[in-house]
C-alpha cells in the first residue's frame, strides 16, 4: 500500500523565541528546527505499516527551503521518497491554503492512506489533516493511537477520547488519519539510513505550479507575549535559599504543608 505522511517543520523545542520586528511572526534568525512531534509518530506508524503490509512511504512537507533538512531526516528514518512543496519564506497561507497545496501535490499520488500529525506545535490549529480529507473527498478520523489495515481496503483505528476514554472506528480506504503522540516507540535514523537517504528521490514542487489557493479567510494580525494576568511569587537566588523561602510560604501562607 502507498502511505503518504504530511510532516511539518517547527522550531526546535525549548528554543528561545522572540516576536519579530514585524509583530506578525517570530524572529527566525538563528533558530534551529525539527519535525513537529506528532508528525514523527505519524511517520513511525507509516513505517510500521509498510513493514507489515509492504508498499511505499512518501513524506510530504510544505515550507521554505530550510525544511529540506527535516525531509532528509525522515528519509533517513526510512521513508522511500519525498515531496517538498516549496513556499516563499514570506508566504502567509492559512490552513485552507496549505491544505489545498498538499491536496494538489497528493492528487497524482493516489495514496491509500494519508497520515498527518494531530496538531502543529507552532500554529496549533489541529485541523490541516481534517481539511485535507475534505479536499480529497476521503473519510478521516482524528487523534489516532493505533492503526489496523484490514484486507488492504479498510481500516480499524483506535481513537483517543477525553478523560482516558477510547473508541474504535472503521472506515474504507483511502482515508486520512491524524496521529496522536505516544502510540508507538520512535525509531532513530541509522548510519546506513542516513547514507541511503542521500540517494532517495526528493521532488520539489513550486507552490505556484500547484494551482491557485483560495483567498485567506483568517488573517494573523499580531503576535505578542501574553499579558501576565496572575503574578506568581517567584523565589530567586541560590537553590537552597529559594527552596527554604518556598517551603516557608507553603507552610505559613498557603498552609498546605
Amino acid at each position: 500500500m502507498k502511505i503518504a505522511v504530511a510532516i511539518k517543520q517547527v522550531p526546535l523545542r525549548d528554543s528561545p523565541l522572540r516576536v519579530a520586528a514585524s509583530g506578525l511572526w517570530i524572529d527566525e534568525a538563528n533558530l534551529s528546527y525539527e519535525i513537529n512531534e506528532p508528525d514523527a509518530y505519524a511517520l513511525e506508524e507509516a513505517l510500521q505499516l509498510r513493514e507489515k503490509h509492504g508498499g511505499e512511504v512518501v513524506v510530504l512537507c510544505a515550507g521554505p527551503e530550510r525544511v529540506g533538512q527535516t525531509i532528509r531526516e525522515a528519509l533517513a528514518k526510512g521513508a522511500d521518497r519525498a515531496i517538498h512543496v516549496e513556499l516563499d519564506s514570506g508566504a502567509s497561507l492559512d490552513t485552507l491554503g496549505i491544505a489545498t497545496l498538499l491536496a494538489a501535490a497528493l492528487k497524482s499520488e493516489a495514496a491509500d492512506l494519508i497520515l498527518t500529525g494531530l496538531q502543529s506545535d507552532d500554529f496549533g490549529y489541529g485541523q490541516t489533516g481534517v481539511v485535507l480529507a475534505e479536499l480529497l473527498g476521503v473519510p478521516h478520523s482524528t487523534i489516532i493511537m493505533q492503526v489496523e489495515v484490514r484486507d488492504g481496503n479498510s481500516l480499524r483505528v483506535k481513537r483517543e477520547l477525553e478523560d482516558g476514554w477510547f473508541q474504535h472506528i472503521e472506515m474504507p480506504l483511502p482515508a486520512v488519519l491524524t496521529i496522536q503522540s505516544g502510540g508507538n516507540k520512535l525509531r532513530y535514523a541509522t548510519l546506513m539510513g542516513i547514507k541511503k537517504a542521500k540517494t532517495k528521490e526528493l521532488k520539489v514542487l513550486k507552490a505556484a505550479d500547484l494551482g491557485a489557493t483560495p483567498p485567506a479567510s483568517v488573517v494573523l494580525e499580531k503576535l505578542y507575549s501574553p499579558h501576565k494576568s496572575k503574578q506568581a511569587q517567584i523565589f530567586s537566588g541560590d537553590p537552597k535559599t529559594a527552596a527554604a523561602q518556598l517551603l516557608e510560604k507553603l507552610r505559613f501562607e498557603a498552609r498546605v504543608l
Binding site: R13, M171, L246
Partner: protein, 294 residues
C-alpha cells in the same frame, strides 16, 4: 445574521460555548441561536455531523458559528468550515469587537504567544473556544434550539471504552508532584521521586513522559489523562500547555519549577522557582528533610 452555538450533548463545555456565543451575539448586536443533535439521533460521526450541520447552517445563515474546542469539534468542525471555504479559528481564548468586526485571540507555540486573528470575507465564520476561557453563566436564557439529525457516514464507530481499571487514583491525593519533559531522561526520574517521597505526594506526569513510557499512562494529568485538584500541585519541568493545565488548574496551590521564566505554567502558579530543576529539586528535598529531623 445571528450567532449559532453548536451544543454537544452532555459535554460540560457546552455551557461555556453558550456563554461565549452570548457574549459574541451581544457585541455584534445579533440574535443568539443554538443547535443540538435531535434526541435519539444516530451517534456522532464526522461525516454525519458535517452533512447535517452544513444543511442547517445554510438554512439559518449565521454570521458566526461557535463550538467548544472538544475532541468531537476537532474531529469535524474543520471539515464543516471547509465546506464554506472557511478556516476554523480553533481554541480561542478571548475576543474583541471593533465596529462590529470581531478579532479572536488564540495561543500559538503551545501558549508561549498569543495571536490576534481576524476573520476575512463574509460569514459564516467558525470559532471554537478553549476550555475555561469563557466561564459558564448560571442563566440559560430561553432560545429555540434547532435540532439536526446526523446523516449516513463512511465511518462506523464502536462504543467508547476505557483501558484496564486504573490502579492509581490521583484524584484522591492531597499533594501531587508532577514531572514534565524538563527531566530529560528516564534515568532522572528518581530526582522527582525523592521530592514526592519527602512531601508524601503522589507522582504524576505530563503526557510526553507517559508517551515515552518513563511513567505509566495512569499517572498522566491533563485532557487525555486524569483531572486532579489537590491542595498542592508541584509542576517540575512542565511548560504548561493547555492540555496539561485543564487537568490540574483546580488545584488549590500550584508551585512551578522551570528554567524558562516565560513558561506558561507560571501564569497559573501561585509560587515559582525559575532555575534548573536538577539543582532546585535536590535543594528542596534537603530543606524538607532538615525540617523533619531537627
Amino acid at each position: 445574521m445571528s450567532v449559532l452555538v453548536i451544543l454537544e450533548t452532555g459535554h460540560r463545555m457546552s455551557a461555556e460555548a453558550w456563554a461565549a456565543g452570548r457574549q459574541f451575539a451581544e457585541a455584534l448586536g445579533v440574535p443568539l441561536r443554538a443547535a443540538a443533535p435531535a434526541e435519539g439521533a444516530a451517534p456522532y460521526t464526522p461525516d454525519g455531523y458535517t452533512a447535517a450541520l452544513e444543511e442547517l447552517i445554510r438554512r439559518v445563515a449565521p454570521s458566526l458559528v461557535v463550538f467548544a474546542h472538544t475532541y468531537q469539534t476537532r474531529d469535524y468542525a474543520p471539515k464543516l468550515a471547509t465546506r464554506f471555504g472557511r478556516v476554523l479559528i480553533s481554541d480561542v481564548i478571548a475576543a474583541g469587537f471593533e465596529n462590529g468586526a470581531p478579532v479572536f485571540v488564540r495561543q500559538l507555540f503551545q501558549g508561549k504567544f498569543n495571536a490576534d486573528i481576524r476573520p476575512a470575507g463574509d460569514g459564516p465564520h467558525f470559532v471554537s473556544i478553549q476550555a475555561g476561557a469563557f466561564p459558564a453563566t448560571a442563566d440559560a436564557a430561553a432560545v429555540d434550539i434547532e435540532t439536526f439529525t446526523p446523516s449516513a457516514s463512511r465511518q462506523k464507530s464502536e462504543a467508547p471504552f476505557r483501558e484496564s481499571a486504573r490502579e492509581v487514583d490521583l484524584t484522591a491525593a492531597p499533594i501531587i508532584v508532577s514531572v514534565g519533559r524538563g527531566i530529560k531522561e528516564q534515568a532522572n526520574i528518581p530526582v522527582v521521586e525523592k521530592l514526592a517521597q519527602a512531601l508524601g505526594a503522589e507522582l504524576a506526569a505530563s503526557r510526553p513522559i507517559c508517551d515515552a513510557g518513563w511513567l505509566p499512562m495512569e499517572r498522566q494529568v491533563g485532557s487525555s489523562g486524569q483531572t486532579v485538584s489537590p491542595k498542592l500541585y508541584v509542576a517540575v519541568g512542565i511548560s504548561g500547555a493547555i492540555q496539561h493545565l485543564v487537568g490540574m488548574k483546580g488545584s488549590k496551590t500550584v508551585v512551578a519549577i522551570n528554567q524558562d521564566p516565560n513558561a506558561p505554567i507560571f501564569e497559573i502558579a501561585d509560587y515559582g522557582i525559575v532555575g534548573d530543576l536538577f539543582e532546585i529539586v535536590p535543594a528542596l528535598v534537603a530543606e524538607i528533610d532538615k525540617s523533619k529531623s531537627p
